[in-house]
């Protein structure tokens, strides 16, 4: 059994190694035809000459080398245009996306020639190996029940060297994905066959690769959740729910709707987590998409303003964070092995409140700027350019700042990249503006609470340790108090790991929601409780 587990790990690592090697397997040569086909008019006018001189028909051994050379030319040209104040000619598309397109078109590597093969060698081996590694736990870890043995002895889950390496890999992946996607042109191309299943001949984007990887990680690690918590129906049902919403809503529908000429949108993605909803291009696209587009606009508002707070009132924010949300879904599956690494100290809680509410305010400001811009431009103010500058600050700048700092760095690089170091809910706890919004509702107006069972707590600390949100659950439980905290995402693991049956997630009347408020825990008749 153990050997089977190790074999699975080796197979997974081979798949991972091949995936990681793909950026070094490129064979890039841009022909004139490719250049003409891939660049738009303005780019061509600007870049044809220097590209012909420096890049055309030159061979590069990686998309990275090619793209760096291209970006240097692109930037030099732009600098020149700016210096000459030829503003009409300056190119505003991100150099990295142009570089990615050219790389994809000019790449003739072993990967692009054998896409299915490399898909199987990377995704295929990865899935097969990890499932093998996971499924033997059914036998290896004994009868159903909480099996947390060795978590703090394992370098993968105790911030040891494996954890650090994993974090380095993930952070690198996110930096490449968000900022230098041309590096992974080969990896993107190996998902073309899958993209082709939706639309013949369509090419995958970096976001398709990411979406596919995301879903597959969740599904594979979802199997791990099913095995680990097979004794706990709450966890089984909840895991099924997050997998369903990720695969159907966040992935398949987004791919399938466009096949019918409809805008592909993730219907469960609520503002302000979905911060691009009010962007002009998005609203414009939806307006152009007829009735369904109109429905999406109205749904977007109804979801955030009515559905979200109403369901939080009845069930707590768990209905979203640990049942529906994609970020939460990844955290609850891929991130589950790291949940114990969240910081439980008082200072972390203080930091959390400043940060998450700070992001909420930032998201509010963004919404105002973008909303005014979109509304005014669509109503034809300034010849359709709208009002983009308020108090000397440009809405486009606010968008860029938010997109970079919150959307990319916080949610992606730190939020997921640091799973193995800071735990699996770093983004959800410290950064997500939707979580902050729902948290306020959950804390002040909700039927949800975690009930503490009288005086049965023995202060062992399992609940706090395995709280991914860093809530010191024990601090409440040992006083016989219920847990009512804005950050609780209702994953239910505190209740699962409690050895004495002390904790239960419940929805009930608001009256008495905080439970025992006296200093004395139940069991002592020398005192009168709550009177």
């Amino acid at each position: 059994m153990k050997n089977l587990k190790y074999t699975g790990m080796v197979i997974f690592l081979i798949g991972l190694a091949i995936f990681t090697t793909t950026p070094f397997l490129g064979n890039v040569k841009m022909t004139e035809t490719i250049m003409v086909e891939s660049l738009n008019e303005q780019e061509l006018a600007n870049l044809e000459q220097p590209l012909k001189e420096q890049l055309i028909d030159k061979e590069f051994s990686s998309t990275f080398g090619f793209s760096r050379a291209f970006i240097a030319i692109y930037n030099a040209k732009n600098e020149e245009l700016k210096a000459n104040e030829e503003w009409g000619k300056v190119m505003w598309t991100k150099a990295s996306s142009v570089a990615l397109n050219l790389s994809r078109a000019s790449n003739n590597s072993v990967v692009t020639q054998n896409k299915w093969l490399f898909f199987l060698l990377t995704f295929g081996l990865g899935i097969f190996g990890s499932l093998m590694y996971i499924i033997v736990d059914l036998k290896l870890k004994g009868p159903p029940g909480i099996k947390n043995d060795g978590i703090y002895h394992d370098a993968a889950t105790n911030r040891g060297w494996i954890g650090i390496l994993t974090a380095v890999w993930l952070v690198t992946f996110y930096i490449v994905l968000y900022f230098h996607p041309y590096i992974m042109a080969d990896a993107i191309s190996l998902t073309d066959p899958i993209k082709g299943l939706f639309k013949q001949g369509a090419e995958a984007s970096q976001w398709f690769l990411y979406g596919l990887l995301y879903c597959i990680s969740m599904l594979v690690m979802g199997v791990r959740m099913y095995i680990k918590y097979r004794h706990n129906k709450y966890q089984i049902v909840r895991t099924t729910s997050v997998l369903f919403f990720q695969v159907i809503f966040a992935f398949l529908l987004v791919e399938i709707l466009p096949l019918f000429g409809l805008p592909g949108r993730d219907l469960k993605n609520a503002m302000p987590l979905d911060y691009t909803f009010l962007y002009k291009y998005n609203i414009q696209e939806l307006l152009d998409a007829g009735q369904f587009g109109m429905f999406l606009i109205i749904w977007g508002f109804v979801l955030s303003i009515i559905v979200v707070p109403t369901l939080v009132y009845f069930y707590g924010k768990r209905w979203y964070c640990s049942w529906v949300c994609g970020c939460g879904g990844l955290a609850e599956t891929l991130g589950d092995p790291y949940r114990q690494l969240s910081n439980k100290k008082m200072w972390a809680w203080k930091l959390e409140r400043w940060l998450i509410h700070g992001v909420l305010v930032f998201a509010g400001i963004l919404t105002i700027f973008v909303g005014i811009h979109t509304f005014t431009s669509l109503s034809g103010v300034n010849d359709g350019e709208g009002v983009s500058t308020i108090m000397g600050i440009s809405a486009f700048d606010v968008r860029d700042w938010y997109g970079f700092m919150v959307g990319a760095v916080f949610a992606g690089v730190i939020g997921t990249g640091f799973y193995p170091l800071f735990g699996n809910r770093t983004w959800c706890r410290f950064g997500c503006p939707l979580a902050a919004y729902m948290g306020l509702v959950q804390r002040f107006k909700s039927r949800f609470r975690i009930t503490t069972n009288g005086g049965q707590c023995i202060s062992c600390g399992n609940c706090s340790t395995y709280c991914e949100q860093g809530i010191d659950v024990r601090a409440y439980a040992q006083k016989g108090q219920n847990i009512v905290r804005s950050s609780c995402v209702g994953c239910g693991v505190c209740s699962a790991v409690c050895p004495r049956g002390v904790l239960k997630l419940e929805n009930g009347p608001e009256a008495g929601r905080f439970g025992n408020e006296g200093p004395i825990v139940l069991g002592n008749d020398g005192f009168k409780l709550n009177q």
Binding site: I146, N453, G455, G523
Partner: protein
């Protein structure tokens, strides 16, 4: 201003300190020779098993003590001079007190077995035991555990988590036989065996055999069988840790003798928790109670007395809980291993044999006496109310859905429990729909 000194930083001593601080501005000093800070003793096993780090089983962050003006001293008390109200410390210094609370805890029982002090032989109680077990279990292949109770199961779980095989010797014919009725004992025994523990009933330890380095290498049972092992766990209960008190003026029998106010024979000296022995058991309980919860209640109580509101120890209805490998156990009220005269009982077990409940009531009056439950969680506060108010067994059975505390979506067995109950007892209970439990508490 009074200076209150507490010896022992376990749950009893620390609870006392916290409540003294709530009630007064007295100077508070907690002395411990075990660890610098309070930790949850019941969680030591999880540190060994890698579920948590030691810092995770400390219920309060280290700044807590200074913030609440509770002084800590990491030193051992060698002697108590009650005439001068002085403590003589191992470090050579001495400490004065106005009021002294002894919360000394327990130590594992050793019944004079030959070889009981060899290397590799140990109990499981203190932080030092945790350090020792880490050392003792290195490269171990088999452990023999002596004594079938709660700590024995913990010890077995710990060993198995490191791949060490376990032989478990139980003197009685069933598991935890002085506490659990036969059916529950059998259920737990099956579960322990399912985890591949070599569980042996009616087997007593005769001696522990040493190798040439004075380390345990095997044990011999009373039947003469020799079992090779590298670790021997002595888990046949604990007794009050009172050795150094015996030479003082404070009255000691098995534990430190106290009245219901937790006062010893010496004025301004109190004893709480595992080390306290009541002249007479309170509310029909044993006169020495070695349970987390009772330690906490004694701490809450003595804090009132030493801050001027003299209060008798008056615990509510008995409750306790534990976990045996994967099966959780809760008990409310009294279910004795052998039912008392005049008691009737009802036992239900799930066909898969890992979930059960055992209800006891007074046959003549139908008064609910207590319940054992394995594999289902139930609500403490509702049982507390029923037991205090003298609810009938019918009321308890009728409200089984409401008293259920299992996580959402769990399977429910109340219907089958009540149906079988009616059939076996001839009573006629109708299972009521689940009610928001506070409504029952309030009514």
């Amino acid at each position: 201003m009074d200076k209150i000194v507490i010896i022992g930083n376990g749950i009893s001593g620390v609870t006392a300190a916290r409540h003294i601080r709530k009630n007064s501005d007295s100077e508070i000093l907690i002395i411990s020779a075990e660890t610098e800070h309070f930790f949850s003793r019941t969680a030591l096993m999880y540190v060994y098993m890698g579920h948590m780090r030691f810092e995770d089983i400390k219920p309060y962050e280290d700044w807590f003590w200074e913030k609440n003006r509770i002084d800590l001293k990491f030193d051992r008390v060698e002697d108590i001079k009650t005439e001068t109200k002085q403590l003589v410390m191992k470090s050579g210094s001495s400490i004065n007190y106005d009021k002294l609370i002894l919360a000394l805890g327990s130590k594992p029982n050793k019944f004079g077995w030959p070889g009981q002090d060899l290397k590799g032989v140990q109990g499981l109680y203190s932080f030092q035991d945790l350090e020792m077990i880490e050392e003792n279990s290195k490269n171990a292949k088999r452990a023999v555990i002596v004594g079938g109770g709660l700590i024995g199961v913990e010890f077995a779980e710990m060993m198995l988590s490191r791949g060490i095989e376990v032989t478990f010797l139980v003197r009685e014919s069933k598991f935890w036989g002085n506490v659990l009725p036969d059916q529950e004992g059998a259920l737990i025994s099956r579960h322990i065996k399912k985890h591949h523990v070599d569980l042996r009933f009616n087997t007593e330890l005769d001696e522990i055999i040493a190798d040439e380095n004075g380390r345990a290498k095997a044990i011999k049972t009373k039947d003469g069988e020799i079992i090779e092992c590298q670790v021997v766990g002595l888990t046949a209960g604990v007794s009050p840790n009172v050795a150094f008190v015996k030479d003082t003026n404070i009255e000691v029998e098995r534990g430190i003798k106290v009245n219901e106010f937790l006062e010893t024979n010496i004025e301004d000296v109190y004893a709480i928790g595992d080390c306290a022995q009541f002249h007479q058991g309170v509310n029909g309980r044993r006169n020495i109670e070695q349970v987390w919860y009772t330690g906490r209640i004694m701490g809450e109580t003595v804090a009132q007395t030493v801050t001027g509101k003299r209060l008798a120890y008056n615990p509510g209805p008995w409750f306790n809980s534990a976990k045996f490998f994967d099966i959780e156990y809760q008990t409310y009220g009294w279910v004795f291993a052998n039912k008392l005269e005049g008691e009737a009982d009802y036992y239900w077990e799930h066909p898969k044999g890992e979930i059960c409940i055992h209800v006891v009531w007074d046959e003549a009056t139908g008064l609910f006496k207590g319940l054992n439950v394995f594999g289902i969680r139930m609500r403490h506060d509702l049982f507390d109310k029923w037991l205090r108010e003298g609810a009938s067994v019918d009321e308890v059975m009728a409200n089984l859905s409401t008293v259920n505390f299992d996580p959402e979506f769990y399977s429910h067995y109340e219907k089958s429990i009540v149906d079988q109950f009616n059939k076996e007892t001839g009573r006629n209970v109708e299972l009521k729909a689940k009610k928001w439990w506070r409504n029952l508490i309030g009514s």
